[in-house]
Symmetry: C2
Subunit: 110 residues, 2 copies
Amino acid sequence: MGTTKTEAFTATDLLLAKYAKALAHPARVAILRILLERQSCICGDIVEELPLSQSTVSQHLKELKEAGLIKGDIDGKKVCYCIDEQAWKQAQQMLQVLFSNYTPCGTNCC
Amino acid sequence: MGTTKTEAFTATDLLLAKYAKALAHPARVAILRILLERQSCICGDIVEELPLSQSTVSQHLKELKEAGLIKGDIDGKKVCYCIDEQAWKQAQQMLQVLFSNYTPCGTNCC
DNA sequence: AGTTATTATCGTAACTTTACGATGATAAAC
DNA sequence: GTTTATCATCGTAAAGTTACGATAATAACT
């Protein structure tokens, strides 16, 4: 046990859950905010903005990369991070569709 | 270890991460879709729509409740579930603000 | 070649999540 | 009051997450 029954769900729900999971830790939200803050890519020094160790930040970056939300290209000694435009827009759209699907319930049971 | 350093992050990022975490499992996305599908509250029988055991579904419902996204009021023998309008709209807005903060990077490094 | 700087990965401890069966709790139905 | 239906909770096994120090990998600099 301890494993999600992936075969039981739709591809859409799996993908949406994957994107949501990437956002499901405050450190990763903070990292994304740092990347959003700049217009350009940011080369390293994300570690200095967060009160976490270098290895922990690297691990969070890896998860964001695996979810597809960010890219990291090698640029000499440093690595250049930025938001992946396509995945970002897809996640945005999927979330927007889900959330805007809400209409307040007519019954007064809750 | 194994615990998030909550004190290190802003209240906004913690809340956003909490909402995202609620969406970070396909079963919970599926449950929310079921609740969204109806205009009214849904009394029980969510279990029958998912290929998971009753206890597992109940656990997912609990997590959605703890994140604040849904409410569950007792209605005799059954329990009446529905989306919590306020939290839903807050989550929607916070996500929308985060995602719309993106502008493609000018540099061509990635 | 040796040093320095930067990032990734490994190893590991502690905690959390996912899933299920079994058991409880509560209220309607008989 | 006993049964039935519905949902929550407990207990537990397996897997995943979070965090950090230590170590490895890579490339620039001397």
